[in-house]
């Protein structure tokens, strides 16, 4: 139960950072998608049903601070979560390179799902240029942010909570066991 509250807290913090802090320090409105990184982490380390419910609620909450279409991020983030769950049993999930790779693929899948949901379900407006044009910067910033967050989280855990068990985190460290 406490883990769910931590996820909710992290998601809330991500929403605040993306809507207030990052627009001040990053130029031209480009900002990394912290929610996507959280969803991929949940896909790697949470149970399917609990994770799916959490991700769907996060998506709806995200819709309140992003865009103007209720349910859009619920659908997109759920799609990404289920895609991660589908491949997680077939690969070695305890690798930081995999996390980076999944963030890259997740960013691309997010764009595909976003274009599908916007172009097929909304009559007015031309959305695909808005999604495709910033895509390279979006992918790059997402991967870079995932890398920095991973390093920061590992440092934080090893320094302040050495005995705490954070799912996957220590194993994702490339130095673990060496």
């Amino acid at each position: 139960m406490s883990r769910i509250w931590i996820y909710i807290g992290v998601a809330g913090l991500g929403i605040l950072l993306q809507s207030v802090l990052l627009p001040h320090i990053l130029p031209h409105g480009f900002k990394p998608d912290l929610m996507l990184i959280l969803v991929i982490y949940l896909g790697l380390h949470e149970q399917t049903w609990r994770g799916a419910c959490l991700v769907y609620v996060f998506g709806w909450a995200f819709d309140v601070v992003a865009g103007s279409f209720p349910g859009l991020h619920g659908f997109v983030l759920l799609g990404i979560f289920l895609a991660v769950r589908a491949i997680v049993s077939r690969v070695n999930a305890e690798s930081s390179v995999l996390l980076m790779g999944l963030v890259l693929l997740g960013s691309l899948l997010q764009s595909v799902l976003m274009i599908f949901a916007l172009e097929f379900f909304i009559d007015e407006g031309l959305f695909w240029p808005m999604v495709l044009w910033p895509l390279p910067f979006q992918v790059l910033s997402n991967v870079l942010t995932a890398f920095l967050l991973l390093k920061l989280a590992l440092w934080f855990q090893l320094t302040f909570l050495p005995r705490a068990h954070v799912p996957g985190l220590r194993k994702l460290d490339s130095h673990h066991g060496s």
Partner: protein, 273 residues
């Protein structure tokens, strides 16, 4: 059959979940026009934190600009530098006040030209993604703000309110791809619809026969039922009349600098939803 179900259960249930989410999204698009309880709750919870964080960031930016950069100066100049910093800080504060004064005066002058009642508001947060263009303002239903109300600044049209809670509202900017404003060219009176496209607007449905000039102002036509007539939207940036076809392709540069949006006016009036 049972064996097949057990083997494919996870995939099928995953697909079912995804389809359910898509269906719910589709239903919401068609039915939901007003802010629901969940959305109002999230806005209510996040907006105070956003407001506090915005103030904190501005405070830190001031301190960084006026003090921390100068901490590593030589010791003998320390007192002088401190005095200098205090003066600079004071000057910066006065300059900021003066700039704010200018902005607010322009807003006030603009407000006085409006026939409808207006409500000044501050922008406290931006859209959380890079794809959409929305902002959060610090006025809500308790202040008389309703969904559909137009939001403007002295330079021109900003957008319209799409969601609100008691003390906060979300505004869809005219540059968002979901935004469409009934518009006309001020000189030639050619009509069309301005759609958002990120940093520019696309002026759709202007007949090819209309003779337009780059730089001409584009204003609201008052036909859409949201914006009053005559508000400046932007200026024509490019015109592509093409070889054939019914319409020409026109790009419009918005008159408002959305990256520097701080104070806005909500035009309070009866909205038709």
């Amino acid at each position: 059959m049972w064996e097949w179900w057990r083997k494919n259960r996870a995939v099928l249930l995953g697909l079912f979940l995804l389809l359910a989410a898509l269906l719910w999204y589709s239903v919401s698009l068609r039915q939901q026009r007003e802010t629901n309880l969940f959305e109002a709750l999230v806005l209510r919870v996040t907006a105070p934190a956003q407001s506090v964080l915005t103030s904190a960031i501005n405070g830190v930016a001031d301190v960084w600009g006026n003090y921390i950069n100068l901490v590593d100066t030589v010791e003998e100049n320390r007192l002088l530098m401190e005095a200098n910093n205090v003066l600079k800080s004071e000057l910066n504060r006065l300059r900021e006040n003066s700039l704010e004064n200018v902005r607010l005066r322009r807003l006030l002058e603009f407000k006085e030209t409006q026939s409808v009642q207006t409500l000044p508001a501050r922008v406290i947060a931006e859209d959380a993604t890079s794809w959409f263009r929305t902002v959060v303002i610090d006025k809500g239903s308790a202040d008389g703000v309703l969904e559909g109300m137009p939001v403007v600044v002295a330079e021109g049209v900003v957008g319209r309110v799409i969601r609100n809670s008691q003390h906060e509202s979300r505004v869809l900017l005219v540059t968002d791809a979901a935004s469409a404003v009934a518009s006309l060219v001020q000189e030639s009176r050619a009509r069309g619809i301005c759609r958002g496209q990120g940093s520019v607007l696309i002026f759709d449905f202007v007949l090819r026969k209309e003779k337009l000039v780059v730089g001409e102002p584009v204003i609201t036509s008052g036909m859409g039922g949201v914006f009053p007539k005559g508000l400046l939207i932007g200026h024509i940036k490019t015109i592509d009349r093409m070889e054939f076809g019914l319409f020409q392709t026109i790009e419009v540069t918005p008159s408002v600098d959305f990256s520097r949006l701080e104070e806005v006016l909500v035009l309070l009036r009866q909205v038709e939803l």
